[in-house]
């Protein structure tokens, strides 16, 4: 079945079953592999994308419900918060293996859009849905605070 999705400002028509989660359309049909597969059950956050300005777990978001919505992935992520987060991630050298980091960045950007000066509790709340098995949590916390400071 043919479904059209708007991803990173561009329309893509894919031939996939309507119950297919966005994750597999991105990765297998469109080759946008920046959004990662970690658990498939919305528990790890590796597949975090933005849908109409809110974080969504792409692994449990069937494409049938996404037509006409604005989808943003790590590949198309832009804006002041995104720039500040990416700079802070580089400055603090946050990632280790990097597999979870696209999801971490997608969550961090939304956190900073909502809270310009996040407290530790805000960071706990905003980031606890993203697992990092390498254990970069302390650096993520530091980088979010740095990005917040840079955004002013």
């Amino acid at each position: 079945m043919s479904i059209t999705l708007k991803i990173n400002g561009k329309e893509h028509t894919v031939d996939a079953s309507p119950d297919t989660p966005l994750l597999w359309v991105l990765r297998d049909h469109l080759g946008m592999t920046g959004t990662k597969f970690g658990c498939g059950v919305a528990q790890c956050g590796a597949c975090t994308v933005h849908v109409d300005g809110k974080t969504r777990r792409a692994c449990v978001a069937p494409i049938a419900g996404l037509t006409g919505k604005e989808i943003v992935t790590i590949e198309g992520l832009e804006g002041a918060e995104a720039d500040a987060v990416r700079e802070a991630w580089k400055e603090i050298d946050v990632p280790q293996c990097g597999y979870c980091q696209a999801g971490q960045i997608m969550s961090a950007v939304k956190l900073l859009e909502k809270k310009r000066d996040p407290t530790d509790e805000d960071i706990d709340l905003g980031m606890s849905g993203n697992i990092c098995r390498c254990g970069t949590y302390m650096r993520i916390r530091e980088a979010i605070k740095k990005a917040a400071g840079d955004l002013g």
């Binding site: 658990c39 990416r86 990097g98 098995r133 302390m138």
Partner: protein
């Protein structure tokens, strides 16, 4: 790959864009690459890479492989392998220094570290680095990215390699100018004729330098420590600029023209078999193409695939749905009776009786009899799973009787051998391409996922990506073993420890390779049992029997995890029994500065493959990290109500780490970790920033497993399947802050990836005891009985 041109997956679409086809070609030629500068980064975009390398038919590693015959013998025999410079370094006329990294990148930043050492000795500008991943091939020497050995085995080799290339550039300049080589000096990408000040860039000299004879060691000068520009510096990661844009290729990300996807239904029990299969409903699911029955696994397990049924589909989702619709009856096999609850009782009983003597000093039995006070304690740790964020994935395609496998592996050469052996083809018929690894932790050292993909692809006749789901990774791992330990200690009338008995029982890793093995091997015991650095006059280590019922494998720091948990918990328990401060008592146990050799006390100790003369067990270094971690933590400071500090120290992979954990337990029993402080003595370190990162990450790994980690079996099958029934640490549970101190050292480099993990668990449980009086001897802390709350039970009182 530049972010403006993401890999759009139109390879299944007849309207291939130029970009996509370039990139597919790029990826299929085994290039996963990063650069140091923005300039270089843009150069590394798909179109440029194609122009530079693939139209000329050469990747840096292909170019390097051609020039090995020129090497002289004395550069060929380093511990890590051949140090012939062309093998890893190609210099381009535009000054780009192309480096091949033979070790797998899994977050430990080995790409950056290899480049640092080579660029430093070559004496080239860091901005000119471009690095790519080597395929798995014996020409690269030891590629096993495991055992915390990458820098330990390759530091000297890489230094000589970089310096040899610098010598060849100097020789090329000397011949061009017709001057003696000793008047020519390579510095920051240029050779300078010192008397005249004439200069030629490395790029200008590269073609001529390639024709120079590879020099012998005596003609090569290594830099002095004080001349290092990159080594021992906090150089930024080469991979981060790609990662933050979703670029770089992991095993799960591989894309090839015409590829299909597979997931596999594997037998729930080890050595289980498919009794009957009905795939009718599965084949009705849109996108599902066919199923493939895999051969049943016969013992020993080794790295062979587990068997089962693969579902092939046009995308991963269809394959997953197809698998759910399979109707399979399994034959359970010999492990169907494995039950963790019963096994725990059996293992705990095993360590109550005398075991096989593995190390003996003095007379423990007599000393315990004569002691003024004796204590004993039993410790238990369950199975654990590595649970890297990237579940395994491999893409395989056959060309005639040859197979090309591409995926995430820590051990590409063993994966290559394994594919050859399982498929019954010569090793030379296997091309083994390595992607980035989304975490490894030892799981991806085992090449079963490669052999499985090769078997499936051979049946299908098209490129197949075999995707492991989280459930697959959790239920079909090579598990960290389950263990029980019994310790006894004797104190004299002054509270000094005079007797120390350590009895340990666990299914051994050896059982995975040698069916039926039921006794710990020296390889298990050397990790924290036979090398306990305590100055106790009477000491004995014993092992007990235990059979394996799942695939047992190594996981980040391996047997050190449970041995350090027991020994370092017991050190704190001895201090408590003696009425002493745990830090002071730990230092007394470690005793005066001296070198220890377990081989002289009846043990077989291989020192992690490093010579004892270069890497002795040095108790001064144990004490050094203990004192430094305690200083960082402010040991002895006044703590708020409900807080406690715990300390632990452990040497593993020839490096020393001490960790202090502070816990806070509120009146409801809720635990938080306000801070962690670690000191590491790993000898010479290449990247100070990334060593700190490994200490942070290794500690989190240890804390996560200690707080939450428990894999159990029922009727031979693994009970847990996904987050959260298999729970790992999250942001809100992580330490609020962590500080790391690297002990300055000129000693040869030790391991870094694993040594931070072992002290984390006992430092945590010692802190919990200090805060609450609750002594945790069975991990995880939050097992089913505690439900996330540390409330004293009758037993704790």
């Amino acid at each position: 790959m530049s972010h403006e041109q993401p890999l759009v997956g139109q390879e299944l679409d007849p309207g291939l864009t130029r970009q996509a086809s370039d990139l597919i070609l790029n990826l299929s030629h085994g290039i996963n690459r990063a650069t140091a500068s923005r300039r270089g980064f843009l150069k590394g975009s798909s179109a440029f890479v194609l122009g530079l390398f693939l139209l000329s038919g050469k990747t840096a590693q292909a170019a390097g492989a051609e020039n090995l015959t020129a090497a002289v013998p004395d550069l060929k025999s380093f511990q890590g392998g051949d140090a012939t410079p062309h093998l890893f370094i190609q210099i381009q006329p535009d000054e780009t220094i192309q480096i091949v990294c033979h070790l797998s990148e899994m977050g430990q930043q080995i790409w950056t570290a290899v480049a640092q050492v080579l660029i430093d000795e070559l004496d080239a500008p860091w901005e000119n680095v471009q690095i790519e991943q080597a395929e798995g091939h014996p020409r690269y020497g030891n590629q096993n990215t495991d055992g915390s050995r990458s820098i330990r085995y390759n530091f000297d080799r890489l230094r000589w390699m970089g310096a040899a290339m610098r010598a060849m550039l100097e020789e090329a300049a000397a011949q061009t100018w017709k001057v003696p080589r000793k008047e020519c000096k390579g510095t920051l990408g240029q050779v300078i004729h010192t008397p005249s000040g004439k200069k030629l860039s490395y790029g200008a000299l590269a073609a001529k330098a390639r024709e120079m004879t590879v020099p012998a060691k005596k003609e090569i000068t290594l830099k002095k420590r004080e001349e290092w520009r990159q080594i021992n510096k906090p150089v930024k990661s080469l991979t981060t600029p790609l990662i933050i844009r979703g670029e770089g290729e992991f095993g799960q990300d591989t894309r090839q023209e015409g590829m299909v996807y597979a997931v596999i239904a594997r037998p729930p029990q080890l050595f289980g078999k498919v009794k009957s299969l009905d795939d009718k409903r599965a084949l009705e699911i849109p996108g599902v193409m066919r199923t493939v029955k895999l051969p049943a696994l016969e013992p020993p397990a080794g790295f062979k695939p587990l068997g089962g049924v693969a579902v092939i589909a046009k995308d991963t989702w269809a394959a997953i749905k197809g698998r759910e619709a399979l109707e399979i009856t399994w034959e359970d096999g010999p492990n169907a009776g494995y039950d963790s609850e019963a096994f725990e009782k059996k293992l705990m009983a095993e360590v109550q009786k005398p075991g096989t003597e593995r190390l003996k000093r003095g007379d423990v039995a007599a000393a315990l009899d004569a002691a003024a006070k004796t204590i004993e304690a039993d410790y238990y740790m369950p199975h654990l799973a590595h649970s890297a964020m990237e579940p395994p994935a491999v893409t395989a395609r056959w060309e005639g009787d040859k197979v090309i496998c591409r995926g995430c592996t820590q051990s590409p050469q063993s994966a290559r051998r394994n594919v050859a052996s399982v498929c019954g083809i010569p090793e030379d018929n296997v091309t083994l391409e390595v992607t980035w690894l989304g975490g490894g932790f030892g799981r991806k050292s085992k090449g079963d996922h490669f052999a499985e993909a090769a078997l499936v692809a051979r049946e299908v006749g098209a490129p197949v990506k075999v995707v492991w789901t989280r459930e697959d990774a959790t239920q079909h791992s090579y598990y960290h073993t389950v263990s029980a330990q019994h310790l006894e200690g004797g104190l004299d009338d002054k509270g000094k420890c005079v007797a120390f008995l350590h009895r340990t029982a666990f299914p051994t890793i050896a059982a995975t390779f040698s069916y039926g093995q039921d006794e710990p091997r020296w390889g298990d015991l050397r990790q924290g049992a036979t090398d306990t650095p305590f100055a106790v006059p009477n000491m004995q280590v014993e092992s007990g029997k235990a059979e394996a019922h799942v695939r047992i494998g190594w996981m980040r720091s391996v047997a050190n995890i449970y041995h350090a948990f027991a020994v370092q918990s017991f050190a704190s328990e001895l201090a408590h029994a003696a009425g002493r401060d745990p830090l002071e008592y730990l230092l007394e146990l470690i005793g005066s500065p001296r070198l220890i050799d377990p081989n002289k006390e009846g043990a077989e100790y291989d020192n992690y493959g490093s010579p004892m003369e270069d890497y002795p067990i040095d108790t001064a270094r144990h004490a050094g990290v203990v004192k430094e971690a305690a200083r960082l933590a402010g040991w002895g400071r006044e703590l708020p109500e409900g807080h406690g500090l715990g300390i632990a120290v452990h040497r593993s992979f020839v490096s020393y780490v001490a960790t202090v954990v502070e816990v806070a337990v509120d009146k409801d029993g809720k635990l938080t970790i306000p801070g962690v402080w670690s000191a590491i003595d790993a000898g010479t370190v290449v990247n100070t920033n990334h060593v700190e990162a490994q200490v942070e990450g290794g500690t989190i790994f240890g804390l996560s497993n200690a707080l939450y980690g428990e894999i159990t079996a029922k009727d031979g099958a693994i009970v847990q399947s996904n987050f959260p029934d298999w729970r790992v640490m999250r942001m809100n549970e992580a330490p609020r802050k962590m500080e790391v101190s690297i002990i300055p050292s000129t000693a040869p480099p030790g391991g870094v990836g694993e040594p931070p993990t072992p002290p984390a668990a006992p430092a945590l449980t010692n802190a919990i005891f200090a805060a609450t009086g609750i002594r945790i001897r069975r991990l995880p802390v939050f097992d089913a009985s505690r439900r996330d709350r540390l409330i004293k039970t009758e037993q704790d009182r």
